[in-house]
Symmetry: C2
Subunit: 298 residues, 2 copies
């Protein structure tokens, strides 16, 4: 039924009656459509459900367009990003067009669904801004990191699950916890991959996040574990290009203090809670999605 969602997005874009925008949209990568999948699994395949899934994916695509401008990203899913090919101006405006068309269409669903989704967009924008601000400093506060990734990544997944539950007449709060945990774990694992997976060019982890000033969970845990002198050293490496020796030092410290394991367990705990909630509801497909996430390659 994901194809029905794709067709609905194409129809929404065609409604705009602007050839330039249609051709730009066709060039965007489709992605995994995780949010649409969750919505369909929770609420079935009625017209309102398909529309809601299409709206959420349009909104997600808009947020990625702006995210890539914010991060000066030149690739998205291993292909050149839209801002890299057509410039930031086009990416910003296409984002605004997809956002506003999404909000317009939400008014054809229900005020409750519209509120839950539009609130999530505010949260994700607040989260993006916080992500940028936090990267200016060495953030060693886990609560602040968790709030930021909740806003930036988990809020729209939580809202997708909540909106779908509303449409299906299922208990909203339970599904929102499921979505929230899934989103938090997804971001934590994404942050871990920056430390554990080899970059194709160097054959070793890139540690991009730390160079960009982002102290993700593993860095916060590492900082907590280090003695005073090493703490200072880690701070001195923050937010700049690292040479091979400096990268190796960080990776060795992480190994020594079992930081990857500790961070992974934190994500796993969230996923296990999500799985349990869904199994209590008899939602096999949804617990399956959660299981797949923790089994991502890293």
């Amino acid at each position: 039924m994901l194809s029905a969602v794709e067709r609905k997005i194409e129809q929404f874009v065609a409604d705009l009656n602007d050839k330039h925008v249609s051709s730009l949209y066709m060039k965007l990568p489709k992605g995994k459509r995780l949010r649409a999948k969750l919505i369909l699994k929770i609420a079935g395949t009625g017209l309102s459900v398909v529309k809601t899934a299409a709206i959420v994916e349009m909104i997600h695509a808009a947020s990625l367009l702006h995210d890539d401008v914010i991060d000066d990203a030149h690739t998205r899913r291993s292909k050149p990003s839209l801002n890299a090919i057509y410039g930031n101006k086009t990416a910003i405006m296409l984002g605004d067009i997809l956002y506003s068309k999404g909000f317009f269409e939400l008014n054809n669903i229900s005020a409750d669904v519209a509120k839950i989704i539009s609130n999530a967009v505010t949260q994700l924008s607040l989260g993006e801004l916080k992500d940028v601000s936090l990267s200016q400093v060495f953030n060693d506060n886990k609560e602040i990191y968790l709030e930021m990734i909740y806003q930036k990544t988990a809020s729209l997944i939580e809202a997708s699950a909540g909106a779908a539950a509303l449409l299906a007449g299922k208990p909203k709060e339970i599904y929102m916890i499921y979505g929230r945990n899934l989103g938090l774990a997804f971001q934590m694992i994404d942050d871990l991959l920056d430390i554990t997976s080899d970059s194709t060019t160097l054959g070793k982890p890139a540690l991009h996040d730390f160079a960009e000033g982002k102290t993700t969970l593993p860095y916060i845990y590492l900082y907590e574990a280090l003695d005073e002198q090493s703490k200072q050293k880690l701070r001195s490496l923050h937010g700049r290009m690292l040479n091979a020796k400096e990268q190796t030092w960080i990776l060795e410290q992480m190994q020594q203090h079992l930081i990857v394991e500790k961070s992974y367990l934190e994500a796993k705990k969230l996923i296990e809670e999500a799985i349990e909630l869904m199994e209590q509801q008899g939602e096999k497909a949804l617990s399956g999605i959660a299981k797949e996430m923790i089994e991502r390659d890293f």
Copy 2:
């Protein structure tokens, strides 16, 4: 009653519970609040009306934040623009935050009001994108120019008037024509000011628009009036920095062919229609706003 609108916007921003965002919002220029004024004049000062006016001004502020990034503008109302001080990233995200909070709050008004406003945001984003694309070529098509300024500038003013009429139980279509004409005339006059008003540093008109590739109405009319050889010359000057001699040539040609007068009359005709519609409705204050617009200094 504009102060009630200001307080409502401040409350909406405070709802976000983010000190950084509150402090950024405080630094934005307030502007003339034209859209809020129209809404209050049409629909009175009930809570839904004040909320709608506040939402529209938040949305307008968001569009200006993105507009300044798109245009690489370093000033806004003679002060450094937010993107100039805090960077494009902050300006893009603050725009997204204000947009989404605005859309969220629209759900507390009515679905009809929410649709009319969110549709206008799509139109203005489509218009901005068209403005950028059109500046890549020498556009000599008046219809395309009019469609672009309708989308970019008139659509949100039209929607503000329409939403207010809905709230007040007044005939929506008449008020929307009024708003549309006001918006078109506003943009036409703004485009004329780039040609008629002396820039403070040079003591003569800047002709920024043409240098940026924008062939506004006066350039389209001038092009129509010129002979083949001068047409080619005008094309050759398009989209680049002009020296004093080139600027003077353009201004002389405009004078010779009475282009400013012709363009001004086009704006005036729209305003006169707007005034007449409002006088038929007994809306003195609204016809007054239209009159003021055509008497802008230029």
